[in-house]
Symmetry: C3
Subunit: 420 residues, 3 copies
């Protein structure tokens, strides 16, 4: 296998001054400048500087479990084969023949013993090595070892497969930082996909991550969710890395987020501690993975930008294999709940996308319970500014949004008032 | 309410030399350079320098007659609420929440007591003032009076509502100049909308205004119209302002423009003088309002550019309320006539749009009866040139296109010949 | 008729260094840089510098056989009338009125006695001369002879009509060079169109010409074609000019390329010599005409670029009139064969188009039997480089791809091996 030439790092079209108002304490900060949700030049920068150089989750190990099993994934114009080679290692290759450049594999997933280009029948093994093509014997300087498939960096965590188009990127573990620590009690790698929902949303990918990161909108937008987990009960999780996380509390005797709030016999994920039984955890991992652990299932959203104004969102639910093996296993309650909630979210994100396109719009202010939105926006702003400074958004559970569970009675007055 | 920051005036991409051939007396002048009908850069200039800084007609007072009644209008990417506030004043606001920028009102028209953003439930009164949002109490420098809806300038004439996105623009009255004088005999403000037709036309907006401004094409394109009002009978109206107007004469015993030329009992608009009974008046008001007074109805066309190559045209017919109140009121004759005539026009405008895209096309010459086209093109050319000089196109009724009605017998020979 | 002003020659966006690896002997050469199949700027250059200045085949003399008969053709945004004038000469005109620029003729083909603009009824005769329009009598400097239709250069060879948008281009005969010599034995001008197939292909036009120029892909992509004419039997035709040609050999007792390989009574084209009976000839004439002579029919493909990523391909079959006059004339065998083969080709061209868009793709190497592809790519590269140097790709029949027909037994070993 050969390696793709390193490309030049693109230059940010957003100057530090343009985002300085976002890089302030939340009480003084303003939201991101509106053009970053609309300007194709900004989008191109994000695609080239971030999505082409950050670790992106593209699937689960279960999707290529046995040697020869593969799936295709599309990363910003790059068609990539993720395959389990004969040595049981996962590898990723650009799905492009080294001869005249044809796409080699057309079926989105399957099992193969080798890769054969459908145009002139050139053959590569599962490790990407080219076999000698006919009618090339008399060529000068034609080195087979230099004409294998181009490889893409691949790493895994907890069953998730991440790719990185940048050969120079820091390792995945460094990217995740202390994120994995929070989930060590749980057998995340053992979970298996049960449900998959796909959405087309007319909104910038950042608006979708922002929407995920606050529940200020829940009383009006999600009456059911707000009934099960009131918007002002919960707290933030600490830790370093390119992520932020929080939890919300199930009230009354509710057991999970589903259309009626109950488990109906579904087993909880092994490893749940007493406090986990009443919590739903929400995290974003930079740039586009949303991770939500419920007592009985894990949900992820992958937010894939199409362009500055449109995104595809994939939402998947994972359960423990033992739960799925129960004869009466029924995931429809969680699925219906989240399909409803997702669609409510996409609608308001689309309204925000439309409104921020107005020439009249100027950055607004964060309410005090939008600190996780502010955390994400600060990551965005820091990366635009690219000046080596890192904005810290202070998030203390009690002060910020209604207090941790044990402090419910001592919430500040303004938060009690605002409970729906 | 806050006011939108003034934007920098865009620079014209069309140099004075490029339009100097249009800024000549009609006998020597050439039509506009073809690229102004096709070049996206020219269109962007027109949108930013003209449509974003000129008074644009967006509706009638009847569309928001009572307090709380509103309608939405889209002005070149700006979504605007036109509302009758509690004090019975008409106001216009950008339909954008000052918090995270969501579109506030989604229904295209209706009646409301306040504006409430569907995302985080921020509330504004009908004058655009923000009410205190929850969870913003501890913010620093968060001034409610600076966070109201952004207002858009609004003015009215004769029942028409005009908006102007430019806070510095001269008043509507100055824009209209002496135009209103011609219609003082008639109760234009009292008329009510009866019919509405909407068209998508693959032609530049200027080609549509030009088409409206001459009847040189009528013998071939509009046999019925040309039968009722022969193309070479009529005259021009004098007066200053950003408009031009003419009239055409109904021949034989025809009473109006409709599918058979007769009123069939429809009352004429009050105030008609003897000469008005046989006339149809045509005016364009810069940039995109076409105004046609018939004995029994007023017609307007609004020509809304979509891009350099496409436009939406709205055509509406207004009658006097007393006429509409008649038990046997039937507007189908005028409507059918104009729907037919409109479609004939759109077809030739689309042919012109297609043909002028050819690299071979060079500006042509105006015939002597295209002086009102030339007037419009001169306004266009003057605004591109932006050099303070104003081109005057001399339009004398008799010399220009067949003479006033009282001079029919003494038309110049070449005009008699060319009558169909 | 007036003549269109000469436009400035566009500047190549591809520097000589970028294509130097293609301008080498085949054994050392690399394919074209991938961006030339994708970059809109490169496409615009090709359109302006090549397609607007080269001779392009747009039809056959039979399409406008009698005076007044015409057809319209679209050349890269130019709508052109090809007409047989009263003097029986073929002429081509821009289909654009000199007045306000409307398209004059709307029906794609037919018979007319004059051209009359549908907008203001200006009239031109079949030689493009403007008749005096009414209401232009008093204009200054309005010279009828300067306001005729703009003419386009037209020439013919063997019944094919070629146009050239560049008034300064060298004559068609110079462009074709020695190409016509090879077809003098055959009455090509007498052949008549029998079948027409049209395809939309998501591939750059050059990928389609390349695909036509080699049979390295035939064993895998075209099992039937490869059965009738094995990919490694054939040779190249010599000669100068902007073209390249080869032939392939029908094996066994096969008589032509059709769904079963037999003539079923269809007569061969007159003039066939003994060696022609077992040959199918393939030629490309720069830039986009593919010419394939079979024993009983002539096939052409016209590859019309839409943009850098899409093309329209027209495929037509021509037979001798005597063959077509036979009561049982049936062209369905050839048509079905080529429709199948065409679609197989488009599919792999689309795969190549998709794959070469990858940032990972770097130019590949030509196999030794892709010399005609290399010839075409070298013409492309020479024209980008525009440095006066001309790359010669040596094509000797035997060495290059399995030897001429008489040498079958003495093919080099590697070619025998690779026969399917």
């Amino acid at each position: 296998m050969a390696s793709v030439l390193q490309r030049q790092r693109p230059v940010s079209p957003v100057r530090p001054e343009e985002v300085s108002a976002t890089r302030q304490p939340t009480e003084r900060a303003s939201t991101l400048p509106p053009r970053v949700y609309h300007d194709p030049e900004v989008f191109q920068y994000e695609r080239d500087a971030w999505f082409s150089a950050d670790w992106l989750c593209v699937g689960r190990e279960e999707d290529a479990a046995e040697p020869g099993e593969y799936f295709l994934t599309q990363l910003f114009g790059e068609n990539i084969i993720v395959v389990r080679s004969d040595d049981r290692q996962l590898r990723a290759f650009h799905n492009v023949c080294r001869h005249r450049g044809a796409t080699i594999v057309e079926e989105p997933c399957g099992k193969l013993v080798r890769f054969q280009c459908p145009y002139h029948a050139w053959i590569y093994d599962l490790k990407g090595n080219l076999r000698p093509p006919r009618h090339t014997e008399t060529l000068e300087n034609f080195d087979l070892s230099q004409n294998g498939l181009f490889q893409v960096r691949l790493d895994t965590w907890a069953g998730f497969i991440f790719l990185n188009l940048d050969p120079q990127a820091a390792p995945l573990a460094e990217h995740l930082g202390e994120f994995p620590n929070h989930w060590q009690p749980f057998p995340i790698a053992e979970l298996r996909r049960s449900q998959r929902m796909e959405y087309h949303v007319k909104a910038n990918w950042k608006a979708l991550v922002e929407n995920y990161s606050e529940c200020y909108h829940c009383p009006g937008v999600h009456p059911l969710l707000n009934h099960l987990t009131p918007y002002n009960l919960g707290g933030y999780l600490p830790g370093s890395g390119n992520w932020a996380a929080s939890w919300m509390e199930l009230t009354s005797d509710y057991e999970t987020l589903s259309i009626d709030g109950y488990l109906h016999g579904r087993k909880r994920i092994p490893g749940m501690r007493p406090e986990d039984l009443k919590r739903v955890y929400y995290a974003f991992i930079w740039p586009n993975l949303l991770y939500s652990l419920h007592p009985d299932f894990l949900m992820i959203h992958l937010v894939w930008p199409i362009n500055a104004e449109e995104s595809t969102v994939i939402c998947e639910l994972f359960f423990h294999p033992e739960t799925m093996a129960e004869p009466d296993f029924d995931p429809s309650g969680p699925k219906e709940f989240w399909d409803l909630t997702n669609r409510q979210d996409w609608h308001v994100c689309e309204l925000q996308q439309a409104g921020t396109a107005s020439r009249s719009y100027v950055p607004g202010r964060y309410s005090i319970i939008e600190k996780m939105v502010h955390s994400f926006d600060a990551m965005v702003a820091d990366r635009y500014a690219n000046d080596g400074q890192r904005t810290v958004v202070v998030r203390e559970a009690i002060k910020n949004w209604g207090g941790a569970r044990t402090k419910r009675r001592s919430q500040p007055a303004e938060l009690r008032e605002s409970a729906d």
